[in-house]
Symmetry: D2
Subunit: 241 residues, 4 copies
């Protein structure tokens, strides 16, 4: 069993009618719903307004893969929690950051860059076609040459991220922009995937291809190995010197 | 002209006789001395006990490439300064981190990992042979297949760093360890080089090969381009939608 | 001085009126013309119908950077010449492959993949916007966020290439496709750049941005270092064993 | 079930007593023996002197992962077969190349480089310590910080290979050399692993760690996806132009 925690800010779904109309119980439950169909996954949700953000030490220690969606309240996530998450990733926990999570303190700490990008919203006319640019990557299993999102917020380059290990997906937008939409990294013993689609006003997380990618990503990001600590051990010579 | 700031902690040279014996004016002046021979470089030094650590806004803004050596007082470098340096790197300033600087807050912020490693010291019997594993990299210009350091502290794998763009040098130690001794990364518009040799009790910075590598690295890390800001601009469609 | 050989197939300009109309002396002379303005470059041209394809041993040995444009006669390039070029690259010669050269035997040998891609031509309605996705790369010096080509053949993913060291440019096409339009690799001691724009019926090589990129690429691909040979030397122990 | 073909030259075990003493039925059977314990694998062996080298079209089409060990007869492998194997890799077949296979036509075609290296043999005194430098890679599952080989031929840098996706293992030799001993690449839809240990006079393939790595590598290199062809399809616009 892989223990997955789907963490969402869960603010807009409470106060914005248009968001609640699409995600009545928040994006977190929409993601849990499709992941629950995978019998190898044990999925729980957590959000910003839970005690300790739903991520106290025990909860973190019981998380193999953490999924992170956030948008309007990045600054409310405590720095101490960010540091703990970063350490868990380096010790081997998987991390999947979705959409506007690109500007969260969590991914900024783990990647070390600003993760800034260009963006543009339109209620009806902004479309994306997601091209698979690393077709044999495990995260692309079951995904064809490309798939389309009829409505999506535009995210455009330059995307200020470290060079990914793999750019699994590259987005084409009808606004004339391109974007590295699906990127992987390894940090310490942990695996990280950033996936750009997921604007809160559109039913992105009900899309079959999106669900497939996120499910694949959870499996890929899971690692049974854990690093015991992050310190610098004083070593002994292994040869006579 | 490339403006270079050589920043050193400069504590051990004050209080430890054995260090002062090797570097009477600190490692910073030893590095400045050989860089000064390159007429394209304008070199100044700064250290922890200078006002504002010798890195106030004006001083930072006038730095194209920052060299960083530190060891016993990483925690005394103010977090606000670390953040400023990180931002400058993302905007295009070059950064060269030497030896025990691997555990500085600066490189940890920029790379996002713990940068931990194994280590072992011996006053006389620990040797390193540095192999060039990316011979056509600009940083390796003028360097042969390998060169040797008669005395060096051992740094060993696993080295907790993001996958480098290039592992220019790989270290062999007579203790039975290996190490990615010269590594490059790009972050934002900035270029970063980590170079492992440089224990304060040994005359590493007087070694011709070491001097050549650091001089090459300064030239490589310099970039004339600067990113104007790190924010996320709201973009306009470039096509009719 | 950097010795540059601009090699073009130079067939279509002889027999196709529409191509000759754009490039009266072939693409090779159009490229030579703008490179000649750089005083550090010593540029000559060569083509398929020259004796020995204009690339006998002396000519190859006097080439620091080879530029390759070809389209309809890839199969006429002798295998023995392909092998010689591949060896020169591994020994340190720079290689820049343009547009339809993606399907040349030279790049296939050097990269080891099919280099296949999707394509679509339209005489008037196919446009490209080239985004810079590695802005501080030397090849992108002087290039802004993006530039546009009013007419270009569409090249689309999946592009079957080894993972590039850098994807300096990513192409957006109005046909709905994306493409890794500017890619770098290192092979042996040699540096390689593939640059997608350059359809023979459009005045691509008169575009200022295109000229800037190719000029930058020549400087970047040049390396003063040469590997002496490609064999496996029997080595002596460097330590007592 | 994953269909694995273990291909070995199988010449030295016939004619050299010292090799036959270690591998009575050749290295191929030693590898088959331990892979057979994995119930998800369906393993067969083939060798140079089999009809069609044991790799006719049907046999190749029924191979998901091909393991390649060869040494003294690289030149006897037909070029047409090399080309077929290369195409299969690009279409999705996994490839694992062992030890002296580094100089086979198969890996040279697939990687495009000379794959040359330094080497040194000693019957008793040459030792290797293999460090894990990408501990969370699937190929390193179950492997600790390092493991040792009491006898191994030295392979040393510079190793003329394309930059690996991951350097899973780095070798330390008591001769004073280092080597990128375990390297991965993706080419087309295929995954490739090169693993340096395996000199024919030493019982390397009976070592538990070696067996674990090769077994892991087979699982990692297997991909269910196949590319239909390697040609360049003429595409239709996906947008109105």
């Amino acid at each position: 069993m892989i223990n997955v925690t789907v963490w969402c800010e869960y603010r807009q779904a409470k106060f914005q009618d248009d968001v609640r109309a699409v995600y009545p119980n928040g994006i977190k439950e929409a993601i849990k719903d499709f992941l629950d169909k995978d019998e190898e996954l044990n999925v729980r949700t957590a959000c910003l307004d839970d005690p300790d953000c739903g991520l106290n030490d025990e909860q973190l220690n019981n998380t193999d893969v953490l999924i992170w969606w956030a948008h309007v309240a990045h600054h409310e996530v405590p720095d101490a929690l960010v540091k703990k998450i970063q350490e868990r990733v380096l010790l081997g926990m998987g991390l999947i950051v979705l959409h506007s999570g690109h500007f969260s303190k969590v991914i900024q700490a783990v990647l070390g860059t600003s993760c800034s990008l260009k963006w543009y919203e339109h209620p009806t006319n902004c479309r994306e076609r997601i091209w698979c640019t690393d077709p044999s990557h495990p995260i692309a299993e079951g995904i064809g040459d490309y798939f389309e999102l009829e409505h999506e917020e535009m995210y455009g380059e330059f995307f200020d991220i470290p060079k990914p290990d793999s750019v699994v997906f590259t987005g084409w937008f009808n606004t004339g922009h391109v974007f590295r939409s699906g990127c992987t990294w390894t940090r310490g013993y942990g695996k990280i995937f950033y996936f750009q689609p997921g604007h809160e006003q559109f039913p992105i997380y009900y899309n079959e291809n999106i669900q497939r990618v996120i499910n694949n990503a959870v499996k890929w990001a899971y690692s049974p190995k854990r690093r015991p600590e992050l310190d610098c051990p004083n070593a002994k010579p292994l040869e006579e010197i």
